[in-house]
Symmetry: C2
Subunit: 239 residues, 2 copies
């Protein structure tokens, strides 16, 4: 039984935070099972109902997957299903496409004005910047420039080949991914973009301005994408 002062957050939220921290800091590994509800309830000194409520929450946040008769497992955010969930672009048959990535340069610098606004940084904070082109069936469909707060990704340089996969990067740096907000507009392809996407100049292009947020609400990536939708579409589910 935890302390129950007057202004305390509900127990199940405190328990959720403790379990989430254990996933973030690597105590529990992606793909591996965690102890069963009853053991966890005893360990944290709460009832099984409260532990269940915490785990239900975490399942909704895609931190764990529960399977009747098998157990509760830490989600691997780099799995196809989970890492693709932020790719709203679909091919003709409706499947999500992430694309093969043709990596441009990775640079580091101080945040510019827009980066400060989107990533809630101070003027002299550092960011990593990544350019890339995404291909689907050998055809480029999107060019993108992404910026990430350098302070959040101390291990960026260690990881080979993943600076374009924000959810993988976050997982390796102990960040729990929450949600993304994407602003969509349209424009005509500039000559440079037209060349990169191999379309005629001034072809109508989908412009994507996306901010990815951690579960705690911190912005972790800002991405500008320009996308040729002639062979694809962008699918949104609104509920």
């Amino acid at each position: 039984m935890a302390s129950s002062g007057l202004l305390t957050r509900p127990l199940y939220l405190q328990v959720r935070d403790a379990l989430a921290a254990r996933i973030a800091n690597g105590g529990w590994k992606p793909g591996k099972p965690i102890p069963n509800e009853l053991d966890l309830a005893r360990e944290y000194g709460v009832s099984s109902g409260t532990m269940r409520k915490a785990l239900d929450l975490m399942e909704g946040e895609r931190l764990v997957t529960r399977q009747q008769g098998r157990g509760t497992f830490v989600n691997d955010q780099t799995s196809e299903e989970l890492s693709l969930r932020f790719s709203a672009i679909r091919d003709a048959s409706g499947g999500r496409i992430a694309g093969q990535v043709e990596l441009g340069e990775i640079t580091e610098g101080t945040a510019n004005e827009l980066e400060c606004a989107r990533l809630r940084l101070q003027a002299h904070d550092h960011v990593y910047r990544v350019h890339c082109t995404r291909l689907h069936e050998d055809r480029p469909f999107m060019v993108e420039e992404a910026s990430m707060p350098a302070a959040l990704f101390p291990r960026l340089r260690e990881i080979n080949g993943f600076p374009h996969q924000i959810v993988a990067l976050a997982q390796k740096n102990g960040i729990l991914v929450g949600k993304a907000e994407e602003r969509i507009s349209v424009c005509a392809a500039t000559p440079a973009v037209a060349e990169a996407l191999r379309v005629a100049p001034s072809t109508p292009i989908l412009a994507l301005d996306r901010v990815m947020l951690a579960l705690d609400g911190r912005p972790i990536e800002w991405r500008l994408g320009q996308c040729n939708l002639t062979a694809h579409h962008y699918l949104v589910e609104i509920s």
Copy 2:
């Protein structure tokens, strides 16, 4: 205690269905309170925990709103907040815009091929079709054509001035709105669209293809919209 056969759906889902039906058929009115948890639990012969789980579900489905100390209220889907939730188009300051509607003609006919596909109808089912233009601050920003299965809206003709507001229409016809799926693509404005939107021909336009579904999954509306995004943007939250 309800019957507990072997292949029955969980009790809390059965209870949810019963309560939802009571909202759909008008037994409980939008904006009005429903009985408290304990009374409902007694009425349906379930424990308060089970009733609570059913009500939690319904809150997530936006059928009711619960307020500690006040009660549980049937949501009015025509409220600004709820009716705007499917309008992803935002003005410069980030607010959702529905627009003033300039209504075109309303017609009835048999479903064409696309309508059959999108609305899951048979070849000779009837549909209502509505054309309209949406204005924001006196400027047109979207033209749209919507189709609805005539069978689902027996009371369409009775209702003055709402055939463009699908959630209001659904509520009056005893349909519980679930979610929408919107396919986004880009195109150049055709001369007709350019004139309606008062933009230059071949201006890049956002094309929206949206199917609205009832809570039970039945398609209730298919809408094609063409949208001038020069002063606005489309905002998606992906979780």
